[in-house]
């Protein structure tokens, strides 16, 4: 039984209530390292992005330390996200129901789940977040090296650095917006945060939001039994 988007460690535990394992311990640690890195990057980056936010450098021990540490956190994020990418990419491949789901975004936002197609482990919104994060992190790391002048200033000319810093700031703004969507969705859809803290969601949550994934898990279990 190889359901298309059941990930290693996913399993369903019948009972009252039904519980479903959604993220392994490794995936959760990987996620939170990435999350903390992203938040620290956003704070240190915003401090250097807008003068009104320069006070945020105090969190990192001053402007110089902020300038020094930001790119290193970026390297941590890159490798950490790299780990998440290889865990999650397969289940985030685009499938036909994702288009339908996205076309009915107003029903998503209006909580009319009955009008949405059944979706697998990730819905189209989560997949969009995943791929946007992937692309933006690649853009940020590449442009980031272009302006990491302490070590790499000799490898790019001033024209390239100007373009790099502009793209870096635009990509950073975009990724922060994507991050806001990601965090808001996790808060709004109650029962979601447990997936990344305890690793587990309730059967009702899986039924409501990822029914196709739940069905696959159930049939997978039955097929194995």
């Amino acid at each position: 039984m190889t359901a298309y988007d059941v990930e290693p460690g996913d399993s369903v535990h019948p009972g009252d209530p039904v519980e479903v394992d959604r993220y392994t311990g490794g995936a959760r640690i990987n996620h939170w390292i990435t999350a903390i890195s992203l938040v620290l990057l956003a704070l240190s980056g915003l401090a250097l992005f807008h003068p009104d936010l320069f006070f945020l450098t105090a969190l990192f021990g001053g402007g110089e330390n902020t300038r020094m540490i930001h790119p290193w956190i970026g390297v941590v994020l890159f490798f950490s996200f790299f780990g998440l990418f290889f865990r999650f990419w397969r289940a985030n491949l685009w499938v036909s129901e994702d288009g339908t789901w996205l076309a009915r975004l107003s029903d998503v936002l209006g909580k009319r789940e009955d009008r949405l197609p059944e979706v697998g482990k990730y819905n189209a919104g989560q997949k969009a977040v995943f791929w946007l994060m992937t692309i933006l992190i690649l853009v940020l790391i590449v442009t980031g090296f272009g302006i990491w002048d302490q070590y790499f200033s000799a490898y790019t000319g001033i024209d390239t650095k100007r373009i790099a810093v502009l793209i870096h700031s635009m990509a950073a703004v975009t990724i922060i917006c994507v991050w806001i969507v990601h965090v808001y969705a996790a808060i709004w859809v109650r029962g979601t945060i447990g997936a990344m803290t305890k690793g587990r969601v309730t059967g009702g949550w899986a039924w409501r939001h990822h029914r196709k994934w739940l069905r696959e898990l159930v049939t997978g279990r039955r097929a194995d039994a």
């Binding site: 209530p17 992005f49 209006g110 650095k161 502009l166 700031s169």
Partner: protein, 318 residues
């Protein structure tokens, strides 16, 4: 053999701050300033390229006054030596052998390169650290190393490729010519101007320097340099370091002196619209989230959902 470091008293610039105060600032990086309480007379350094003999006395005077110590480099067999500015070298002579296509004469063009002290400084515009770059009402653009964070944004902002970051220092900072702001503050001219044996470098009020340049240009024109002129590029609002060029119509022959320098539109976009649109976009996304939550309320799992899950997993049969 005496060690001169110990025999000679320390250079007087050590720990000496320019005698300018808040009341003299017209611009301050990453912050706003109230209009200056007093208006200093705009000053300028005029470099007459036609009078420069390339002796490098100005380079030496600069090192001397600013107590700079550059590691001994390598002579590459050309006059450009040192080859470029560094965090310890604020000014260099750039030598160009140029064949005038009209006269077929070889002309040796020697331009003293260094900070131009733009009226609209790109470095200051790009700087993210409040107060690390300041502009006094006399036009001098100065770096405050206590506030500099060494990010290199000024390098990207500068249309003349002037600031250098001391990346090998434990605490990297940006360095460039100060127009000897400390000397000017006490009524003296820059060290380079003082040292110049041919008076190719002169210093005074910007008005005086423009007048002086006029006389020089007239003289050059009378001697066959029809395109002699003053380099005071309007794209950066004029500069407080100006050149008299014998071929002012083609500044780029002087070791790529830009013809129409201005703050790069990429830098303006980065430091302008991106900054405001970016913050607005983030705020908007957060606001939409809050409003949506207030209007729709949380998306909760119903007991019906849990029952359905039990039915699907066969939990109800036991």
């Amino acid at each position: 053999m005496a060690n001169f470091e110990f025999v000679l008293p320390p250079a007087p610039t050590k720990d000496v701050k320019p005698a300018y105060g808040q009341e003299d600032l017209v611009r301050r990086s990453a912050s706003t300033v109230s209009p200056p309480a007093r208006q200093l007379t705009p000053v300028a350094k005029l470099i007459d390229v036609s009078k420069c003999i390339g002796c490098k006395a100005c380079e030496v005077a600069c090192l001397e006054w600013n107590d700079l110590h550059q590691e001994i480099g390598i002579n590459r067999g050309v006059y450009d030596n040192p080859p470029d500015m560094t965090p310890n070298i604020f000014t260099v002579m750039r030598f160009t052998e140029w064949v005038n296509p009209e006269t077929k004469n070889l002309e040796w063009l020697i331009r003293k390169d260094g900070c131009m002290h733009c009226e609209d400084p790109g470095c200051l515009k790009a700087c993210p650290a409040p107060g690390a770059i300041v502009q006094y009402s006399n036009g001098i653009v100065d770096f405050d190393h206590d506030k500099c964070i060494g990010c290199g944004y000024c390098v990207k902002g500068c249309p003349f490729n002037i600031p250098r970051i001391s990346v090998n220092d434990a605490s990297p900072k940006a360095y460039k010519c100060t127009l000897c702001s400390d000397r000017v503050a006490v009524g003296q001219g820059p060290a380079c101007a003082k040292a110049c044996p041919t008076h190719a470098i002169v210093f005074g009020t910007k008005e005086e320097m423009k007048q002086h340049a006029e006389g020089r240009i007239k003289d050059l024109k009378s001697r066959g340099f029809a395109n002699a002129g003053l380099y005071d590029p309007p794209g950066v609002g004029g500069t407080h370091v100006m050149y008299v060029l014998h071929h002012a119509d083609q500044p780029e022959i002087y070791a790529n002196l830009p013809k129409d320098p201005q703050i790069s539109p990429i830098v303006s976009l980065w430091k302008g619209a991106t900054k405001y649109v970016g913050l607005a976009a983030m705020g908007l996304f957060a606001a939409i989230g809050v409003v949506h939550h207030l209007v729709e309320g949380p998306n909760r799992v119903s007991s019906e959902d849990e029952e359905n899950a039990k039915r699907l997993t066969g939990s109800t049969r036991t």
